[in-house]
């Protein structure tokens, strides 16, 4: 009965969203306060119904109800409880339910945490969100109902893909979806503002914390995915430029541009049209990501079972969303005032450079991801774009981005003197150059040069931000000022500071692991040893070890450095009972400065020999550490008290937003 209850809740949610999409929006035009006031309760109602549906599916998983097809295909009675829970989003139908639930949760959050927002604005934002929800609910009910039954019910489920039975991946999709779906709030705010025809700094201020929130989730989600791929796939890579990874990276790039552009719109009332376009793009790219992942149109290492018919639906939905919002934009854009003027040397200019570069990178990733589709459709053959191309593009453009990132925070709004900037930043430039020379001179081979460029960029970023911080503290009575700022008033500056520091840390990780990491494929006999990257690996053979729902071969390795044993590593090769799918469980000795990573390949010959892969990964942790710092920075910026207090200036737009057209 419970699955039927879940199905019913989905149908009711659809009905409710139809009401939600129409009534508050109509009210905002006719000025009917009662109709507009319905927005908040409707948002809560939608969350409740989808919550019921989600709990119904959860119950089916926890009770091993294999009469539900989705449970039968993705769960198994032997599976640990935590993976029965995460199996809900292990495949298409359930992820879609999670997507929709999160959309409702973001909507309810807007309803709950925006007491200062004018009623007309709330009504429009929540109606626009409901329009998005209609698309997803229809999609789920028509093509991918998670509550479909099978008769007779199988006695045992098919098990979740073993790769997904992992704590990292249990929370990776929810984080990613929170990010994807979170951009729907920025999108809804932009569309609501366009509908009202009033784009001003108040709109930007309302939408900033939500955008940053979505960006934080997306950052964490992508970092978790990268970390998972690193330790779970057994290939030691942290990023593959795979279409599915690109699908999450494009909204991230657009979202990063959006955050910076919103800052200009809020502070200087400039870049308005551009900000709106970015808000539309960030969400459209999230939808595109969903389409790419779910339709199976692209060859991907992440491609789990997919279905083209669903792809067609999402593509149609994508066209409606993008087409509709661009049409609205084209209609309203001429009325948008150009806003605050600024000189070529000003913070606006550097943020503009940042935006153009991020937009270019987004387009490049989009191009590289879709090129195989275009080639195939045009009959030019089946191609794949290799990761060296993506790397080249990012290596070419990121130094420019980092240059602007260093100057931007120090530059004044509206107008600044190049001479003043040079005077305050020459030291940082010199430090960057010094780091570059120091890191690249010894060899001057191409490899050392790229390390030099990377470390030079890091030194430049850290130095410029220290200079910016010092300048700020001088005006704010030093440390006590900093504490006062952190206590609430001005957290967004420190958020920016921390996030930019995260970029510096990230660059160190990427540059070091790409240039100084080593990878060795080798065959070892029990008792044999191998030396690489200054470490000696002693192989003690492989043993059979039983697991809860798999059998494993476990190898034992003693790792020595200078004849001193530093660790023992136990990589495994697992065979899961169901499906008989083998899986490599790498063994990693993690450290702040380096990881040692061993994965078992396959047994060779009769003597107990194994094919092995040994990696030495310097500074690889810094990649994720950088992402964590970026996310923390985002959280700090989001909680700035400025976003929670009403400004007197906010009253003008509220009147306008509630007025009929």
């Amino acid at each position: 009965m419970v699955p039927e209850l879940g199905h019913l809740a989905l149908l009711l949610a659809l009905v409710l969203t139809l009401v939600q999409a129409v009534v508050p929006l109509t009210g905002s035009f006719t000025g009917d306060r009662a109709w507009m006031a319905l927005a908040r309760p409707l948002a809560w109602g939608q969350l409740t119904l989808l919550g019921v549906a989600f709990l119904a599916l959860l119950q089916a998983f926890l009770t091993d109800d294999f009469s539900v097809i989705y449970v039968a295909t993705n769960s198994n009675s032997l599976m640990p409880t935590i993976y029965k829970v995460s199996a809900i989003w292990g495949a298409h139908e359930g992820s879609l339910l999670l997507w929709t639930l999160m959309l409702a949760a973001w909507g309810a959050a807007v309803a709950a945490f925006s007491p200062n927002l004018p009623l007309g604005m709330i009504a429009r934002v929540i109606s626009v969100q409901a329009m998005v929800a209609i698309g997803f609910l229809l999609f789920m009910i028509l093509t991918s109902n998670p509550f479909d039954r099978i008769f007779p019910a199988p006695a045992e489920g098919r098990d979740l893909n073993p790769l997904l039975q992992d704590p990292g991946l249990a929370i990776h999709p929810p984080m990613l979806y929170m990010g994807y779906v979170g951009f729907s709030v920025a999108f809804a705010f932009a569309i609501a503002a366009l509908i009202g025809g009033k784009l001003d700094s108040a709109w930007a201020r309302w939408s900033r914390p939500w955008t940053t929130g979505a960006w934080v989730f997306l950052t964490i989600g992508i970092a978790l995915g990268s970390w998972w791929a690193y330790y779970e796939l057994g290939w030691g890579g942290w990023w593959f430029w795979d279409p599915v990874e690109n699908a999450s990276f494009m909204p991230w790039l657009a979202g990063t541009a959006l955050m910076h552009s919103l800052a200009v719109t809020e502070k200087r009332a400039a870049f308005k049209s551009w900000t709106v376009l970015l808000a539309i793009s960030a969400f459209s790219l999230s939808l595109l990501g969903t389409f790419l992942v779910r339709s199976g149109v692209l060859t991907s290492v992440h491609a789990f079972a997919t279905d083209p018919a669903r792809g067609a639906f999402i593509l149609l939905f994508l066209c409606i969303v993008i087409g509709g919002s661009l049409a609205l934009y084209a209609w309203r854009a001429p009325g948008i005032s150009s806003g605050g003027r600024f000189d070529p040397v000003s913070r606006e200019s550097f943020l503009l450079a940042n935006n153009l570069l991020l937009a270019t990178l987004t387009l490049l990733v989009l191009f590289g991801t879709l090129a195989p589709l275009v080639y195939d459709a045009a009959g030019w053959g089946k191609i794949s774009v290799g990761f060296p191309w993506f790397n080249k593009m990012f290596i070419a453009l990121s130094p420019l981005l980092v240059l602007a990132m260093g100057i931007g925070p120090v530059a004044h709004w509206k107008h600044d003197e190049s001479r003043r900037l040079i005077r305050s930043l020459w030291l940082a430039g010199a430090l960057g150059l010094l780091a570059f020379l120091f890191a690249s001179l010894p060899g001057l081979s191409a490899r050392e040069l790229s390390v030099g460029v990377g470390l030079g960029m890091t030194a430049w970023l850290i130095a410029t931000h220290l200079i910016s911080l010092a300048g700020r503290l001088k005006h704010r009575r030093g440390l006590s000022g900093l504490l006062a700022d952190l206590r609430g008033g001005n957290r967004s500056y420190y958020g920016m500071w921390l996030a930019h520091l995260g970029v510096a840390v990230f660059i160190v990780g990427v540059v070091m692991v790409s240039n100084h990491g080593t990878e060795t494929d080798i065959r070892l006999s029990p008792g044999g040893s191998h030396e690489s990257a200054g470490y000696r690996f002693e192989f003690n053979g492989v043993q059979a070890i039983p697991g809860p729902n798999y059998n494993a071969f476990r190898g034992e390795f003693l790792v020595y450095r200078d004849e001193r044993e530093i660790t023992r590593l136990y990589p495994e090769k697992r065979h899961y009972f169901s499906g008989g799918m083998p899986m490599t469980e790498a063994a990693i000795d993690a450290g702040l400065l380096r990881d040692i990573y061993i994965s078992l390949g396959e047994p060779i010959g009769e003597q107990g020999d194994w094919a092995l892969r040994i990696y030495y990964k310097p500074y690889v942790r810094w990649i994720w550490l950088g992402c964590i710092l970026m996310a923390l920075g985002g959280i700090l910026a989001m909680t700035d008290r400025r976003y929670r207090v009403v400004k007197v200036t906010a009253q003008a737009p509220s009147a306008a937003a509630a007025a009929p057209l």
Partner: protein
């Protein structure tokens, strides 16, 4: 007026920058794409001799042979019409096994053997790379598009 001129310069620079970037991107793309060929196409001499490309198909049953020492492995890839021998040195992915669909990236040697630098098999046992699926000759391609219900009942058997 002055501000407008400046803005024009800005926009001009932006367009110039994006133009240069896309020109560079396109030229770099040429050397970084790899085409996909099926064994039939390779045998028909359609695949390039001097450029990296991807070869996809099913691993022929009983064809996988490891060297007695070292890491070299050889196997045959087929699209159920033609077969190409592949040599690879290194660790094969977990899901590599006889009868499954794989994609190998590498060069064709003058001896007609494909020397792979990289071998990809997919995460999901049910999954066949779309390119491979579309080049397979009938019989096996149907297996890839098996309806869900039969999979479930098979699994529960």
């Amino acid at each position: 007026m002055k501000a407008r001129q400046r803005r024009l310069v800005f926009v001009g620079l932006a367009i110039l920058g994006i133009g240069t970037a896309s020109a560079l991107a396109l030229s770099a793309l040429k050397s970084n794409i790899s085409y996909f060929f099926s064994p039939s196409q390779v045998m028909a001499k359609e695949a390039p001799r001097d450029h990296v490309f991807r070869l996809g198909g099913l691993v022929t049953e009983g064809s996988v042979a490891r060297q007695t020492d070292g890491l070299e492995v050889s196997f045959d890839v087929t699209d159920n019409a033609e077969t190409v021998k592949v040599i690879y040195s290194g660790i094969l992915p977990d899901l590599f096994s006889e009868g499954t669909g794989i994609v190998a990236k590498g060069r064709l040697g003058s001896d007609g053997v494909f020397y792979a630098e990289e071998v990809l098999a997919k995460h999901d046992t049910e999954y066949v790379p779309p390119e491979v699926a579309s080049t397979l000759k009938t019989a096996h391609a149907e297996g890839a598009a098996e309806p869900l219900a039969t999979q479930v009942s098979e699994a529960s058997d």
